[in-house]
Amino acid sequence: MSAGRDAHWDVAVVGAGTAGLAAATEAAGAGLDVAVFDQLAPGGQLVNLTAVHGVPGFTGSGPDLMARLVERAEAAGVAVRYAQVTRVHGEGPLRLDTADGEITADAVVVATGLGPGRLGLPGEAELAGRGVSTCAGCDGPLFRGAPVAVVGDDEWTAEEALELAGLASAVTVLVPGEPRWSASRAARLAAVENVEVLAGASVVGLRGEGVLSGVVVRTVDGERELTVRGVFPYVGRRGPEALVEGLPVDGAGRLVAEQGGRTAVRNLFVAGDARAGAVEELPAAEADGAAAGRAAVAALRSGAGPTPAAAPPAGGLRVVDPTHGVPPADEAAAMASGGTADWSQVALFSNSKPNATELLQGLGARLQEHWALPELGFASKPNASVAADKDTIDWLSERFKMVLVAVGD
């Protein structure tokens, strides 16, 4: 990221999920310079959602909805920046520590959502990715035809259980207390044959050597072992408690705020699931974000921060969009896999930049060990500044099932 141009924003939004994008869109629409920061892709929880429910007028996947929200934000002039914000300092002008250096902003909206679920049990970290997962949309297919458990009591838990029901042989939803999800989700859960909801059930142990084989469930009737290949915890999720110094948080580490997401720190707002008392539903997150965006605009305009440019006068300019273009007419049809390779055929493909090959070989070695592969194939571009030649691509696609590619550094 270029530090010079991106060093200061009117409004910096931390987290490009539903609430963050709504806040950013609102503030940019009011004519402010707005950037939204996210560690990876924008979209927050949406990215992991295969089917979206509860958003009026929308049917489609989480990524589809995310794309729509991002497009709307960018059209409003929001800059999307891929950098993790590790700390927000509230003394004096608001300063944000990011992976790419410090930036400043007149107002900040924290919309990080919640961290991943955690059971807090011994062995949990070792079994992560080997049975313990927090994303049904990502890891669900690994458990096709196998029994799984989902642990939690909220809307998200129910949604993930419904998603897994389409893949797993059986889904047991373990609710530590009573379910908090809506009646409509309860009805949808009840309508699915392979889902069982157990209230008053908590997970007290994980079973498995190397990979998960079961969980120990405690209910009023005592403890028993439930055989599952996967467990998806949505309990123990924490808000961004350590992000802002000196802000009060609730028991779940969520930031406490008043109307419009205003916090105890001047010009710092919180929106979405990161806010104490938030309703964990998409329309609520969007409304919450928009309210925080408006509150930020109002705060900056009322003189609580540097005075922004005066509101544009009525009327408007009509221009021809200089970014407009059309997709090429003859987009090549996707080619089917020509190869007969199986999963033992894995190769590395280097872009020939300094260290790229070494990095790939290091990663390749780990994969080779993980899958016990006899050997790895290797190819490279003649140099980093040219496209890969067709013969190499042909060779790779015919001979290999998977190719690890170094593209950008």
Binding site: M1, L40, A41, V80, Y82, A83, A99, D100, G129, C138, D139, P141, L142, R144, E331, A334, M335, A336, S337, G338, G339, A341, W343, F349, K353, P354, N355, A356, E358, L359, L360, G362, L363, R366, L367, H370, W371, A388, I393, L396, S397, F400, K401, M402, V403, L404, V405, A406, V407, G408, D409
Partner: protein
């Protein structure tokens, strides 16, 4: 990305700084690649620094790889 179009599972190893660029290229080519993201830079690192990059990215790589293998 051309590999993915031909049905080969081709995770892209990319540094954080180049992720937006590669993502835009992918969007342009209408593919949704799998990413293994490492901190920038890679060039100019010594052996120990490189080893820590490998270490940090291994978890993500194996997860991406297992997922691809599991869903095929």
């Amino acid at each position: 990305m051309q590999l993915e179009k031909r049905g080969v599972v081709a995770p892209l190893v990319v540094t954080e700084s180049f992720l937006p660029l590669v993502r835009a290229q992918a969007q342009a080519q209408r593919v949704s690649p799998r990413f293994v993201v490492v901190p920038h830079p890679v060039g100019g690192l010594n052996e120990a620094e490189l080893a820590s990059r490998v270490e940090a990215a291994t978890g993500e790589l194996l997860a991406v790889a297992d997922e691809a293998r599991g869903s095929s």
